[in-house]
Symmetry: C2
Subunit: 106 residues, 2 copies
DNA sequence: TTAATATGATACCAAATGGTATCTCATTTG
DNA sequence: CAAATGAGATACCATTTGGTATCATATTAA
């Protein structure tokens, strides 16, 4: 799917997909198991898994007739990289905000 | 707009909006200035700014007939919070990956 | 005050998105 | 083998999204 930063951010933009990521952080799961946790069809969950896979956030291990979905830590890297670009900015602004609050409280 | 985590993630899901965030990290800009940087109409840029504003990522200061758009560091907090939930997970997985690679290279 | 500038608002459109229903295929299991 | 199970694929649908065109409004400048 080419642009990993875009695909990863896109994958995280949906609340159901973020929930899936959190569930898979606890343990690997099949589509069937995931579907049990949501109020939607297996086909819908499958679509979300495809988007997560395109984003590099999960991988699938075929095991007999089951597919084990597993979180891929490397997939989050582009997101963290992009965000880290602002580390200094956030720090500076948050610090000046904090200082402003402290000045006011005197 | 209520759900800040969702709105912030949604705001970051579009490449144009991420570019806007990066531009505003360098300096505050009006819509007109931002529009000069993109190959789209002012109306389109305005829509992106609205989404960024809903996500709490920018604020606007009215100044005469101009509107100064400025990055809001606090807006990124819900995103960083959500991601930080996985810090330990990423660390563990990346470490075991690293170890696996090292074992293989022996 | 009139014209230019900076922006907002709205109607409209094509494409993408999130979902269902349905059919097929592969692997277990009785 | 036959039936049940787990999953993929596709067609279809309503809504959202990203964009344009156009018109209206407020402020600044001539």
């Amino acid at each position: 799917m080419e642009n990993q930063t875009q695909n990863a951010f896109r994958a995280l933009a949906d609340p159901t997909r973020r929930d899936i990521v959190q569930l898979l952080a606890v343990q690997d799961m099949t589509i069937g198991q995931l579907t049990d946790r949501f109020d939607m069809t297996r086909a819908a969950v499958k679509k979300h898994l495809t988007v997560l896979s395109d984003g590099g956030l999960i991988s699938v291990e075929v095991r007999g007739r089951e597919r084990i979905n597993r979180l891929e830590p490397l997939g989050m890297a582009p997101v963290l990289d992009w965000l880290s670009y602002f580390d200094q900015f956030w720090d500076d602004r948050l610090n000046s905000l904090k200082e402003a609050v402290e000045r006011k409280s005197k």
